[in-house]
């Protein structure tokens, strides 16, 4: 695990290579099953984007956009899990999915699994490939506080 000064250095000597290459883009999908060894069969995209966002909402998000910024952090975690896998990235994704489920209207129990689907263009077609699947964890054991 890099120390904070190692993490600070790229900020003090930045590369500024924003969007130089449009890399395959991760989507987080999750499933809840009845047991650790039950194979998930109903994957759902975590926080799918809405069909439309109004101009007023876009303007309001200039000042208050925590949910979207958290989703962008999960994109970073997903990319890190592929490039330099750590328990930290996996824990963060588990925690944030579990927290969303806990905030939902229905009580969700069981085992939570997630996978990372990377979307990319191959020629003119859009291809999807699962590059990571986490081992399920009991929802009751994930700290969402």
């Amino acid at each position: 695990m890099p120390n904070p000064l190692q993490l600070l250095l790229p900020a003090l000597i930045p590369s500024w290579n924003f969007f130089d290459v449009i890399a395959p883009s991760p989507r987080v999908e999750y499933a809840v099953t009845g047991g650790a060894n039950v194979k998930p069969d109903a994957w759902r995209e975590f926080r799918p984007r809405p069909a439309h966002v109004s101009s007023a909402t876009m303007a309001a998000r200039l000042l208050w956009n925590p949910r979207w910024n958290e989703s962008l952090f999960l994109v970073s975690c997903a990319e890190r899990l592929i490039d330099t896998p750590t328990a930290h990235s996996e824990d963060e994704i588990f925690k944030r999915i579990a927290a969303d489920l806990a905030r939902g209207p229905d009580k969700v129990e069981g085992w939570l699994a997630f996978r990372l689907v990377f979307v990319a263009r191959e020629g003119e077609a859009i291809a999807r490939e699962v590059l990571f699947e986490a081992r399920p964890r009991a929802l009751a054991e994930i700290d969402v506080q």
């Binding site: 290579n17 130089d20 449009i22």
Partner: protein, 227 residues
């Protein structure tokens, strides 16, 4: 703009930008709330100019804990610019003499120029950016568009090619705007509009506020270099 005025204005704008981010984190997990509540308080102290420079120093130290918490920046480039600005302002405020203050603050202004120029350069050397294909990919399948309806822009290749060249062209000529104050002000208005568009289309609100907060540094640097 004098050096003390430019530094003070940058401190205040950065404090507002970081305060906005900190408030967003207060809806997060317990450990996040503790870190960002502390940062919010420090932002207010910087904004009020209380006990200067120690709230800035404390924010710089706290930034290391936040980097450790997320094992890197929470939101990539925007957080990196925020860290750069915070550390440059902290070092400038602790510097023992004016030349050192100018060095640290000037470095921040110079990095802002580079942030545009290098972003343009890495795009223009890529054939997919020159053809407009890369921007089509951004809209077609990247994680950034805030709504599915925006993906339809990928079906307008001519428009996206023009937009690609507009962005690359602006970023590449940005350093020339340093030749005079009026051209720099025009360039910063265009750049601010670009960040605003990114905030609306891609939800990158942190970029908008963080980059704007550093504009006094480049305005001061331009005056320092040209006059």
């Amino acid at each position: 703009m004098t050096l003390p005025d430019a530094i003070r204005l940058t401190q205040a704008l950065l404090a507002l930008a970081l305060l906005q981010q900190s408030l967003e984190h207060l809806r997060g997990f317990r450990d996040e709330r503790a870190l960002f509540l502390a940062r919010a308080v420090l932002c207010v102290l910087v904004l009020l100019g209380v006990a200067s420079p120690w709230p800035l120093v404390a924010m710089a130290a706290l930034s290391l804990l936040i980097l450790h918490r997320f094992q890197g920046p929470y939101n990539g480039g925007s957080d990196r610019m925020g860290l750069l600005a915070l550390w440059c302002l902290t070092l400038a405020s602790l510097a023992p003499s004016t030349p050192f203050r100018e060095l640290f603050f000037g470095y921040l202004g110079a990095q802002l120029v580079l942030s545009y120029f290098i972003s343009g350069w890495v795009k223009v050397v890529n054939p997919e950016w020159r053809s407009g294909r890369a921007l089509r990919d951004v809209f077609q399948f990247s994680a950034y568009p805030v709504a599915e309806s925006l993906r339809a822009l990928a079906d307008r290749p001519r428009l996206l090619t023009v937009m690609s060249w507009a962005v690359m062209g602006f970023e590449l000529v940005f350093p020339l705007a340093m030749l005079s104050k009026p051209t720099l002000i025009v360039a910063l208005v265009v750049a601010g509009t670009f960040h605003l568009a990114n905030a609306c289309l891609f939800g990158l609100n942190r970029f908008f506020w963080t980059w704007l907060s550093v504009y006094p540094a480049i305005l001061w640097l331009q005056g320092r270099l040209i006059h």
